[in-house]
C-alpha cells in the first residue's frame, strides 16, 4: 500500500488568531439561521412527523412479516433457517412435531405450529428475508411499531400472516406435485401413507 503524504501547511499568524474561523463560523450559522428562523426565512427542513408522513422508498427494510401465496396458503415451511440466522434472536419458531398439523397446501408437508417475532429485539437487518428458501418472510414498509407492553410486541404467526399479506411466487411445491401427477407412475402423498405395491 502506498502512502500519500499530505502536506500540512503551517497556519499563518492571522489564521492562528482564530478570527477567520470565527467569522467563517458566524457566516455559516447566520445563513442557516436566516433561512430557518420564523419571520426571516421560515423554511425548516424538519418533517413534522405524525401530521406529515414519509413516502417509504422501495427496498426499505421495515418490520419482517410472513406472507401467504396467491392461493392464501402459508408459505413458511418451518425450516427454522431464519431463526438460526437472526442475529438478535428475535425469531422463535415452534415446529409442528411428529403429529402436528400438516401444511395448509398440498405437498409442502409442514408449516410452523407457532412463529413469533419479538419486534423489540428485531434490528430490521433483513437476514431472515435473505435466508428464507421459501420466500415466506419479507421486510415490509412498517416502521412505526408500538405497543403498551413487551408481550404485545411479540407478534405471533396469526398476526404476522395478517400483516404480511400476499406474495405471489412460483409455488414450487404445487409445481412438483403437478409434475409428479403427470408422471402417473408414483402417487405423491401429502400425508404419511402406507407403502403400496
Amino acid at each position: 500500500m502506498s502512502t500519500k503524504v499530505v502536506e500540512r501547511k503551517p497556519l499563518s499568524a492571522w489564521e492562528r488568531s482564530y478570527i477567520p474561523s470565527f467569522l467563517g463560523g458566524l457566516g455559516v450559522t447566520w445563513n442557516h439561521f436566516k433561512r430557518t428562523a420564523p419571520f426571516l426565512g421560515n423554511k425548516p427542513i424538519t418533517m413534522e412527523y405524525p401530521e406529515q408522513k414519509w413516502v417509504v422508498p422501495e427496498g426499505y427494510r421495515g418490520a419482517p412479516y410472513l406472507v401467504k401465496d396467491q392461493e392464501g396458503a402459508t408459505k413458511c415451511v418451518s425450516c427454522q433457517l431464519c431463526e438460526f440466522v437472526c442475529p438478535p434472536k428475535a425469531i422463535r419458531i415452534t415446529p409442528p412435531g411428529e403429529n402436528g398439523q400438516p401444511a395448509d397446501r398440498a405437498n409442502a408437508e409442514k408449516m410452523p405450529r407457532e412463529f413469533e417475532i419479538n419486534m423489540l429485539r428485531c434490528i430490521f437487518c433483513g437476514l431472515c428475508q435473505e435466508v428464507c428458501p421459501e420466500e415466506a418472510i419479507f421486510l415490509q414498509k412498517d416502521y412505526s411499531l408500538t405497543g403498551t407492553s413487551r408481550e404485545e410486541m411479540v407478534y405471533n404467526k396469526e398476526k404476522l400472516l395478517k400483516l404480511g399479506g400476499t406474495h405471489a411466487g412460483i409455488q414450487k411445491w404445487k409445481h412438483k406435485l403437478e409434475e409428479a401427477e403427470a408422471q402417473e407412475s408414483f402417487p405423491v402423498a401429502t400425508e404419511p401413507q402406507k407403502h403400496s405395491h
Binding site: S78, F84, E98, P133, E179, V188, P192, Q193, H195
Partner: protein
C-alpha cells in the same frame, strides 16, 4: 478413547504382539506407512483399502455407501479417486526416474490412455508404492460428475427435510457441487412420506441408493426386510411384501442413511438439528449401557443417537433405548420437596431426616436403593447404611436378551450396585427380610431411592407402620404417595455420574438439561445427608467422590475420574 485398564500382572506375562506389517503409500504427495491389513466390518483382517489408507494420512475421501461396520458394496461411486502405481519394465523391474525415484504410472482408461480412470477408494486395496491423488483435477471432476448425477432426480427438499444440517449430500454439494443444474427435463418423482415401519418414514425421492439400510438390516440385524424394487431411474427402496420393517434396530438406518430418505417418526419435524446441543451420555434402558449422544435444546431433550464405542455398542443402539427419554419431560414429574405430604424446602427436609437418622438405634433403618442409580449415589447410600447398620438392597429387573445389544438385565447399573455393596450376588434377596423387619417393628425408618417398593413385597400397609419413609424418585408412584419425606430427584440426562455395565465397563455420562422445579441431582442431597450423618467425605465434587470411591472399593482398581474418557474403561472383575 482411553485404553482399557489391564492388570499389570497379565500384561507382563503376555508376549508383545508382533509389529503389524506395513505398506508405504503416498496420499496427496505425503508418504505414509499404513498397516497391510485392517479389520473389516466384522473385525476380521482384510487388505487395507485406499479409503482407509487416506484416512490414516488424515485425508477424508467423500463416500456414501461405505461404512466401517457394514460390508463394502461399492455402488455409489462417490469415492472415486485417481491413483498411480509404480511402473514395471519388461524386465519386471521398477522403472526409475532420472533422480532414481520410481516412475509412477497414473491410472488411465486402457483403450484411451489420455483419459484418467478412477477407482472406488472404498473397495480398492492398496499396493506398495501406490500414490493416491485425493484432490487432483481428475478426481475433482469425477466427484463433480457423480454428484451431478445423484442430484438429477433429487428433489432438493432441504427446507422440509429433517436431514438438513447433517446431510452428506448437502455437505458434498457445498464442497464439490455446482451451483446450477444443467438438467432441464422434469425430475423423476417417487413416493414421498412412505410409512415404512412403525418408527420410520421413507422419502424415496431423496434416496441415493447407497443400500446402507439394506445391508444393515440384512447383515447386522439378520432381518431381510428391505430391498430395492423397480429399475433404472425408478429404483426404489421398499419393505419386501409381507415383511414389516419393525425390528428393534430400525432407527439405526436413519443414522446410516447419508441423506434424508429415512427419517425417524419420533424426531420428524421436531427440531432442526443445528439447534441441538450434543451431550455424551449412556443409555439407561438395559445393562449394556450403549453410548449415546443427547440432542437437546434449551432444556428439552429432542433425541438420542448412538455414540460409537467399539468396546460396548459399536455405532448402533436399539430403538427401545433410543426412544426411552420422553418420560423426562412428563408433566407429572416430581418437582417439589414434600414433608408429611406438604410442600417444603430442601433444608427443612434434610434437617429433619438428619436429626432422625442421627438418633436412630442400629438396625432400625433399612435402605432400598435402585440399580438405576449412579455408582457415586450408591456409594454414598452404602456409607450411610454402614454408619446406621442398615440392611440394603436393590431391585432386579429382567427381560429377554437379544443377539445384538439388548441385555437380559434391564437395570443400567446392577454391577455398580453389587460393587458398592448395596445389593448382594442377587438383587432383591434382602427384601423379604426388610418386609419382616417392618412388620415386626424393628425397622422404624425406610429410605427408598427410585423404586416402587409396593410392587416388591413391601406394601402400603407395611409402609404405614414406619416412623419415617424417605423416598427419592423422579415420577410419582404408590411409594412416593406414602413418603413422609419426598425428595425429587433427577433423570440421567439431568445429572452426571458413572455406571458399570454388565460386562464391567465403567462409563461416564454428562448432564444435558436441568432438572425441573426443585428437583436436584441425588448426589447433591445425598452428599449433604451422608456428610451430616456419617461424617464428612472430605470432598464436595463428583470427581472427588468418584476418586474416593475407586480408592475405597478394590474392584474399581483406583481408576481416577480424569482417566475415564467418554467411552469408559473396562474393570477387571
Amino acid at each position: 478413547m482411553s485404553a482399557p485398564v489391564t492388570p499389570p500382572a497379565t500384561a507382563a506375562t503376555q508376549a508383545a504382539p508382533p509389529p503389524p506389517e506395513t505398506v508405504t503409500v503416498k496420499v496427496n504427495g505425503k508418504t505414509v506407512q499404513v498397516p497391510k491389513t485392517m479389520p473389516n466390518w466384522q473385525g476380521k483382517p482384510e487388505a487395507t483399502t485406499m479409503l482407509q489408507a487416506a484416512r490414516c494420512a488424515g485425508v477424508d475421501i467423500p463416500h456414501y455407501c461405505y461404512h466401517d461396520k457394514l460390508p463394502v458394496a461399492g455402488n455409489c461411486r462417490m469415492c472415486l479417486v485417481e491413483f498411480g502405481t509404480p511402473m514395471i519394465g519388461p524386465d519386471r523391474k521398477p522403472v526409475l526416474n532420472e533422480d532414481g525415484s520410481p516412475k509412477i504410472a497414473r491410472s488411465v482408461l486402457p483403450y484411451e490412455p489420455g483419459t484418467p480412470r478412477g477407482a472406488i477408494a472404498c473397495a480398492t486395496p492398496i499396493s506398495p508404492g501406490m500414490e493416491i491423488y485425493a484432490d487432483s483435477p481428475a478426481t475433482k471432476q469425477m466427484r463433480e460428475a457423480v454428484l451431478e448425477s445423484l442430484l438429477i432426480n433429487h428433489p432438493l427438499d432441504c427446507p422440509i427435510c429433517d436431514q438438513a444440517g447433517e446431510c452428506k449430500l448437502q455437505e458434498y454439494s457445498v464442497q464439490h457441487g455446482q451451483a446450477e443444474s444443467r438438467f432441464v427435463e422434469a425430475k423423476v418423482h417417487k413416493p414421498k412420506a412412505v410409512d415404512l415401519g412403525p418408527r420410520i418414514i421413507l422419502d424415496d425421492e431423496r434416496c441415493v441408493l447407497c443400500t446402507r439400510c439394506i445391508r444393515f438390516t440384512k447383515d447386522i440385524v439378520n432381518d431381510d426386510a428391505l430391498g430395492i424394487v423397480n429399475r433404472g431411474s425408478y429404483n426404489t427402496i421398499s419393505a419386501f411384501p409381507g415383511k414389516t420393517f419393525d425390528n428393534n434396530y430400525t432407527l439405526n438406518t436413519v443414522d446410516l442413511c447419508p441423506v434424508g430418505a429415512l427419517t425417524s417418526k419420533d424426531f420428524r419435524f421436531k427440531m432442526r438439528v443445528w439447534f441441538l446441543k450434543e451431550t455424551a451420555s449412556v443409555c439407561t434402558t438395559c445393562g449394556t449401557g450403549c453410548n449415546t449422544t443427547i440432542g437437546s435444546r434449551e432444556g428439552v431433550v429432542h433425541r438420542l443417537e448412538p455414540r460409537a464405542n467399539d468396546a460396548v455398542n459399536g455405532p448402533w443402539m436399539c430403538d427401545t433405548g433410543r426412544l426411552n427419554y420422553k418420560w423426562i419431560a412428563r408433566a407429572d414429574r416430581l418437582k417439589e420437596v414434600r414433608v408429611g405430604g406438604r410442600k417444603s424446602t430442601w433444608s427443612t427436609a434434610l434437617r429433619e431426616i438428619t436429626a432422625k437418622l442421627s438418633t436412630a438405634p442400629a438396625g432400625s433403618v433399612a435402605i432400598v436403593a435402585s440399580a438405576r442409580q449412579t455408582n457415586e449415589e450408591l456409594f454414598l447410600l452404602k456409607r450411610l447404611a454402614t454408619k446406621l447398620g442398615a440392611i440394603t438392597d436393590s431391585i432386579a429387573r429382567e427381560g429377554e436378551p437379544d443377539r445384538l445389544l439388548v441385555s437380559g438385565d434391564r437395570n443400567p447399573n446392577s454391577t455398580g450396585a453389587r460393587l458398592t455393596g448395596v445389593s448382594f450376588t442377587e438383587a432383591g434377596i434382602q427384601l423379604p427380610k426388610i418386609a419382616a423387619g417392618i412388620a415386626s417393628g424393628t425397622i422404624r425408618s425406610l429410605i427408598v431411592f427410585g423404586e416402587d417398593v409396593t410392587q416388591h413385597g413391601i406394601d402400603a400397609s407395611l409402609l404405614a407402620k414406619l416412623d419415617m419413609l424417605v423416598v427419592s424418585d423422579i415420577l410419582p408412584n404408590a411409594t412416593t404417595e406414602a413418603a413422609t419425606h419426598l425428595l425429587p430427584g433427577a433423570a440421567a440426562p439431568e445429572k452426571r455420574g458413572t455406571f458399570v455395565n454388565v460386562k464391567g465397563r465403567l462409563q461416564k455420562f454428562h448432564k444435558a438439561v436441568e432438572a425441573p422445579g426443585d428437583a436436584r441431582p441425588e448426589i447433591e442431597f445425598l452428599q449433604e445427608l451422608a456428610d451430616a450423618v456419617a461424617g464428612p467425605t472430605g470432598t464436595s465434587t463428583i470427581e472427588g467422590l468418584f476418586n474416593r470411591m475407586t480408592a475405597d472399593i478394590p474392584a474399581f482398581g483406583g481408576v481416577q475420574w480424569s482417566a475415564v474418557g467418554d467411552t469408559g474403561v473396562t474393570l477387571s472383575l
